[in-house]
Structure formats: structure tokens, C-alpha cells
Amino acid sequence: MSKIDDDTAPRAAWMGLLARSRPDRLAALLAPLDLPAHDWARAPESGAVMVRGRAGGTGAPFNLGEMTVTRCALRLATGEVGHAYVQGRDRAHATRAALVDALMQGPRAAEMQAAVLDPLAADRAAQRAARAGKAAATRVEFFTLVRGED
């Protein structure tokens, strides 16, 4: 259903980064910034998304179970509309994510990128690398023993 991937890919990427960020971390990054007022296009609302898997990992889809998600949409006085779909039930977190989404579409995009998105991306990379490092320490080489009967 994508329109033109080149247009939407950067926005999808920052929305994904915001959705997966820790609520307290996003709040801390936004705290020192001067944020504009907004009107609701859709007030924050918590709900569920049915997560799907595939039979055998590659086959037909099946319903695995739901996850909690909070969404909202807001409009800035300058006209940009920000959307958020974030994991969990934290409405303030969804609001912050939508605010960043809106600001990324206007003249403050570079500021948001440097002050919010880059640190979130760095956190995420560090966290993934730390887990990958611990996993690598538990990598094993199994040997099969040759029995001496022949």
C-alpha cells in the first residue's frame, strides 16, 4: 500500500524510532526544547493491534496475539499534522512522538533530528550492540566425538 517508498521511507523510519523509544528517554530529550502548542486531530487513545506470524516462519499468516498501542494525531498552528502509533498505553508518550513527527515536517526538522532522533538512534544501536555482544559470548562450538570402535 506504499505510495512512493522514497518519499515515505524517512518518515516511516523516524516514526518507528519514536514508537520504540523509552517514554522516559523521549520525555527527557524533549524537556529542554521549546515546543509549540497543538490542536488534536485525534486525541490520544489506547487500543490493541493483533500481531501476526507466519506458519513455519514463511507460510500463511496466523494471529499470534495482541499488543497494546496508543495513537494520536495533532495539528500545529503552522499546519503540519503529526501522527503517532506507539507501543504501550502511555498517552503522553504518544503525544510527544506525534509532536516530533509534526516538527520533522517543518523548518525545525534539523533541530529535531539532532536533539531527539539522533540520540534515540544512538541509544538503540548501543542497546542492540550490547545484546549482540552478550549473545556472542555464549556462542558455542559443539564437537561430535569419534568413537574408537573402528
Binding site: G47, V49, V51, G57, A60, A73, A132, A135, R139
Partner: protein, 372 residues
């Protein structure tokens, strides 16, 4: 039949007050926080998420606290809560091939491409009680040093290919039937049989761990034996993508930790299928590998019809039996309701028994007179 009863309000209130007091336990012992349960009872939290069918660690931890550690009661609370949530949609199927793995093992291939990674596992522990964990104030286990990363350059988390793909390339294992249709949803429509595989997998992934484990074990002991090997078991996080209609593109809305088990099963071939390996599949929320392996074994047993195998009459092959009894909330609801007042019901039963007895007594008396 259960008939509504009135009364007992004060007694019920008092019982619930006492329950709250018992939940708290000895006030001299510090109270558990929801965060402590979430972080330190993580595998209980995972089970409640998997069988409650709702991925939310904080809610699962809260439910465990409220249920005094009774996990089925906690699952019940989560199931009740999830019915209050509006459904925003169904995700794109998660790509487990792109999982960030913390554990990935194969019992069939020693030199699996991508390597074997044990992760944080109970395997190879001695199952001896660790009294250091009970030591208060002495050698505090809270001060355990963080696990060390592997020496050398930090490995980049890279996609780890599914091991069974390598068997698939040689045509030695049956391919999964592709599909993109929206799957039927057990939580939205009543179970209708025959079920398709999607419905069976949904039922198994939210089914009771003990029940699914018992059925899986029965297949290993010979009731519909299908010689399962764990081709691959992996645990890690996967991104969840949702198509957002108002935007017209898909966005990652979060990530979930999953356990995936793919079994390789012996198969001699049938009238319709050549000799080759076949698959069983388990996928569950959280680190729940006992459940994922069990699910894969039962999934394989239930596939007898599509693989052209014989029905051996085993419980694990019987779709109606498995799907009707896997859900512990349905089961416990029906089971536990028999302790609630059934006075009217029972009174009619009692009258019936009295009538039959009286008739039997009369008949015996009649016989006695005839004999004299």
C-alpha cells in the same frame, strides 16, 4: 445449571477485604512493586502475556501481583482487560528471519550457519538450589556483575538465516504453503471445525502451557509419534509493522520478544507426498521455549490430514479435542463454576433421587410380600 442467587453481600465484601490483606502478606516484609515483578519474575510475566494473548509487560506484572501469583487467575485478568481495548488493526506478519536473536540453537545441525548461541538459558545448569540467592545482607546476589560481552570487536547484530531454509534448498523438507489472506481470528468468531492451520496455531500459542506440554509429550511417548527434532529454536526481538490507512504506508509500532521453534519430523511419504522431512511450528510471546517446542510438536501431530497420514486415534491428532480444551480460561471457567451455588439444580436432583428410592423401596416391599 447455575441459577442466580441473592444475598451474602457483607460476607463477600469481608472475604475480598481479607483477600487484599492476604495478598499483601506480612506487612513487616517490603511490598513487591509491579516493576520488580516485571523485571525479576520475567518468565511468569512472559507466560501471562502468551496465554493472556496480550503483549504488555506492565499489565502482565500487575495481573500477577493482583492474582497473588496465580498465573491462570492473572491470565484471566488480562483476557478480561483486552476485551475493553479497541482493535486498531492487524500487523503485517512479523519477519522472524530478521529477529535480533539472543538465543539460537539447533539440535540437528552442529555447524549451523550463523552459529549456535546459548543466550540466558537454564540448560546446562545443575538444578541445585542456589542459597546465595537467599542470603540477605551477606553475599548479596544483587551485586552480580553484568554478563560480559565477547572479547574483540563488537559484533553487529545481523540477520540470522533460518536453518531449515538450507534443507528447503535441497528439497529435503516440505515447503510451507504461501498465503497472504487475513487469518481467521478465534477472539472474534466462535471456533468452527474443521479449523485451518492458522486457527490451530492461534489456539496453540494462547493455549495452556501444561496442556500443550502434556499433549506434546504424549506424541513423544508414542501416541501419534512423529520423531521430532528441534531444527531450530530462537529467541529474540522482532519489529511489528502496521499499515496506517490515514498515512498510506506501514510504520513500525514497536517490537516484541518472541520464541520460535521449528521442528524437523521424519516422514516416510504418503500417497500424495514424497519421502521428505516435514515441519512443526511454534511461535510464542516472550521467552517461553517449553511452550514453543510443545506447540511445534502438537502442530505437527495435527497436520496428519494434509500430509496424508493415518489417524492413529491419538489425542494430539484430534483437532476437536485439542482446540476445545487448550484454553485454560475456558477450562477454568467451566471447572470452577461448579463450586458456585447450584442449590436449585441440586434440589431437583435430590427430589429425583428420593422419588427413585421410594419407588425402589416400594418395589422391594412388594417383592418381599410376594415371597412370604
Amino acid at each position: 445449571m447455575y441459577v442466580a442467587v441473592k444475598g451474602g453481600e457483607r460476607a463477600i465484601d469481608a472475604a475480598h477485604d481479607w483477600l487484599a490483606e492476604e495478598r499483601r502478606g506480612d506487612p513487616a516484609v517490603p511490598e513487591l512493586s509491579v516493576a520488580q515483578i516485571r523485571e525479576q519474575m520475567a518468565l511468569a510475566v512472559n507466560r501471562v502475556m502468551a496465554e493472556g494473548s496480550l503483549y504488555d509487560r506492565d499489565l502482565a506484572a500487575l495481573a500477577i501481583k493482583q492474582a497473588r501469583g496465580d498465573l491462570i487467575e492473572a491470565i484471566f485478568l488480562i483476557r478480561a482487560y483486552r476485551t475493553t481495548l479497541p482493535r486498531f488493526g492487524g500487523s503485517r506478519p512479523v519477519d522472524t528471519g530478521a529477529m535480533d536473536c539472543i538465543r539460537r540453537i539447533s539440535a540437528t545441525f552442529k555447524d549451523a550457519p550463523g552459529g549456535q548461541v546459548l543466550g540466558p538459558t537454564f540448560d546446562y545448569t545443575h538444578r541445585l538450589l542456589d542459597f546465595a540467592l537467599a542470603a540477605e545482607g551477606e553475599a548479596r546476589p544483587d551485586d552480580v556483575p553484568p554478563a560480559e560481552a565477547a572479547p574483540g570487536p563488537r559484533p553487529e547484530p545481523a540477520p540470522v538465516p533460518h536453518i531449515l531454509d538450507f534443507l528447503g534448498q535441497d528439497g529435503l523438507i516440505q515447503a510451507e504453503a504461501p498465503g497472504e489472506d487475513d487469518p481467521r481470528d478465534l477472539t472474534r468468531e466462535p471456533l468452527e471445525l474443521p479449523a485451518d492451520r492458522a486457527l490451530r496455531l492461534q489456539s496453540l500459542t494462547r493455549g495452556d502451557e501444561g496442556f500443550v506440554l502434556g499433549l506434546a509429550y504424549s506424541t513423544q511417548r508414542g501416541y501419534a509419534r512423529n520423531h521430532a527434532f528441534v531444527g531450530e529454536l530462537r529467541i529474540g526481538t522482532c519489529a511489528v509493522e502496521l499499515d496506517i490507512p490515514e498515512l498510506g504506508f506501514a510504520v513500525e509500532i514497536g517490537e516484541v520478544e518472541l520464541t520460535e521453534c521449528e521442528t524437523v519430523n521424519q516422514f516416510k511419504g504418503s500417497k500424495t507426498e514424497p519421502p521428505q522431512f516435514t515441519r512443526g511450528y511454534g511461535l510464542t510471546f516472550g521467552q517461553t521455549e517449553r511452550k514453543a517446542i510443545s506447540m511445534a510438536l502438537v502442530d505437527r501431530a495435527l497436520r496428519w490430514k494434509e500430509l496424508g497420514e493415518d489417524f492413529a486415534g491419538a489425542p494430539a491428532q484430534d483437532e476437536e479435542f485439542v482446540l476445545s480444551h487448550a484454553d485454560n480460561i475456558q477450562a477454568t471457567g467451566f471447572l470452577e463454576h461448579i463450586k458456585l451455588p447450584h442449590y436449585v439444580d441440586f434440589q431437583s436432583e435430590m427430589e429425583l433421587v428420593r422419588k427413585i428410592r421410594a419407588a425402589a423401596d416400594r418395589a422391594r416391599a412388594g417383592l418381599g410380600e410376594a415371597a412370604e
